[in-house]
């Protein structure tokens, strides 16, 4: 029997009065890193709060590691680390004291708590700066303390809500490395972010929410393949002008392209509805040395996000 998945939601809904937070969400997250995406107000934070048991679902259920989650599921909390999106902390405390206090709340001994705090601080690169009071820290530093706080008890499941917001590029890199490392060791990370470029650099698995509903879930390339509304565009750069002409002729002969356009000396745009076979053909041409570069439009996360959420705003 396989182990139960870290996250399983069934028919999960949450309403705030008449305001819809999340509606009828069913999904399963297997170990690894998953990006949680969606425009502002799409229900990302509501989902995080439901998962951590901060709020109760109006309908449906959340299971973490096969156990029902919700307010008061204390045992589960030890296996989850949560970095909330909003700025909450004890203003007058130093970063280090704050973490030690939290570690003690997790049931550590005094010395164990100090060790855990130092470990978490080192992981986010705050060892030297943690003596400052939280109130006096910059936004980026407070963010790092927040992430450190989620790592304290070495949880299996990390829920990070916009963890990189306000961080400088070096700290971003550090936290992203940390997330990758957690994924590599078999942990699970749910990573909410607006910066698609960063999500894409740590994972190709995403959950996309929009207006409180699940819009798409899975691997980026698979999601893109499901969106077959318009032909895919592939751009080739030939090794030489002659090579470009050979490529164009071969493409036409292959019957795989629905459109073809030259650009400059060595550029060639192809439009296709049969991507797989075309890529295969291109690979063959490439092995013969005619192709110097290959790019595919709307393969990246931004394009997919736009295709899915697009059409409004």
């Amino acid at each position: 029997m396989t182990a139960p998945p870290p996250i399983r939601c069934t028919g999960l809904s949450r309403w705030y009065g008449e305001v819809q937070g999340l509606s009828d969400l069913s999904l399963e997250v297997t170990p690894g890193i998953v990006g949680l995406l969606g425009p502002n107000g799409s229900g990302k934070t509501t989902l995080m709060r439901l998962l951590t048991g901060l709020i109760r679902p109006t309908r449906g259920r959340v299971e973490l590691f096969g156990r029902r989650a919700g307010p008061g599921a204390w045992r589960l909390f030890r296996r989850i680390g949560y970095a909330p999106g909003d700025d909450v902390h004890f203003e007058l405390e130093s970063g280090r004291d704050f973490l030690v206090l939290l570690a003690r709340l997790h049931g550590e001994s005094a010395s164990g708590a100090r060790a855990a705090a130092e470990r978490a601080l080192a992981a986010v690169g705050m060892t030297e700066l943690a003596g400052k009071r939280l109130r006096e820290m910059s936004k980026g530093m407070r963010q790092r303390i927040k992430v450190a706080q989620a790592l304290l008890h070495e949880p299996e499941l990390l829920l990070l809500d916009e963890p990189l917001n306000g961080m400088d590029p070096l700290s971003r890199r550090q936290v992203m490395d940390l997330v990758r490392e957690h994924g590599r060791r078999g942990g699970t990370v749910l990573f909410a972010s607006h910066i698609l470029h960063e999500v894409e650099s740590i994972t190709d698995r995403v959950i996309l929410l929009h207006h409180g509903r699940l819009l798409a879930e899975g691997r980026l390339a698979e999601i893109r393949d499901l969106l077959d509304r318009k032909p895919r565009r592939v751009t080739l750069q030939g090794a030489s002008p002659e090579a470009v002409r050979r490529l164009a002729a071969a493409a036409l002969q292959s019957n795989l392209v629905s459109g073809l356009e030259f650009e400059g000396e060595d550029g060639l745009h192809l439009a296709t509805r049969r991507l797989g076979p075309l890529l295969d053909a291109i690979q063959t041409w490439g092995e013969q040395g005619d192709v110097r570069a290959l790019t595919m439009a709307d393969e990246n996360l931004e394009a997919v996000f736009d295709l899915l959420v697009g059409g409004e705003g």
Binding site: G38, I195, G286
Partner: protein, 317 residues
Amino acid sequence: MSDSPRESVPVLELEGLVVRYGRFTALQGLDARFQGGSLGLLGPNGAGKSSLLRAILGLIRPARGSIRVLGRDLRRGGAALRRRVGYMPERDSWIGGVSGVAGLAHLAEISGLRRDDAMIRAHDVLHFTGLAEERYRPVATYSVGMRQRYKLAAALVHDPDVLFLDEPTNGMDPRGRVRMLELVDRVRREHGIHLIVASHLLPDVERLCDEVWVLDAGRLRMADTLERLTAEARGAKRVRLPAAAAARALAEAAGREGFEVQEGERAAEVILSRPDREVEAREVFRLARRLGLEVHGLKPAARSLEQAFVEVLEGDG
């Protein structure tokens, strides 16, 4: 003012600029010159980016040194100078108690426009930033993205010659970000407004700026053009695969074949290079074929601004 030839006067010149808050020295002797176009200010938290912006705007008085904006000394031309610069602060900022458009017209008037001109401009820039429908509502009812665009409108309403942006896309969702960057980009490209941007989001800076200054601990660590910073790494190729697992498989096999392998910017990407020569497209396609992998992208690898940034800051301690 506007008849002086723009090219000859640098937009920004700093000479031995020192800024202190009490005993803390935020900027310790900056010497730099920005001729014009668009400039990105980068640096870790606390590097002095905001202090520099504030000093240039005259919000903090430098302890030593001088700042010349558009050829004028800040200390003498303060008020006149401020009519010609626009500032988009990081924190939300608006005039409460009145509609969005009335607050904007008010700010335009303060910056030296006549009353009727101010009202016309206020409507125009709100149209430009896509807030036409919300313009009669109080700004307090705007969403995060709208407030951000409203701040841009406020920075543009008096038609400045230099635009200062502090974290312009902070907190915006992906579509909002794209939209904001597009607006700023148009203003600088089509209307020749100089741009100075401080941001933690390197892709934003890559999108908007021609020139980059890296600050660290109150000093200027590097000033260079974006083009030179992100020049192609010699002969390396960026290979894109359908999924992260495929990328890992390719990386492993390539390592055995004597390639140097680096992580790409995306999880489904790898960067391959050879220590001795250029990587040929042909050999990558062959390798992929042998592994049964589909190639979704293959192109010469440029260095990202992030790599350049990290190298500058970690380079010589």
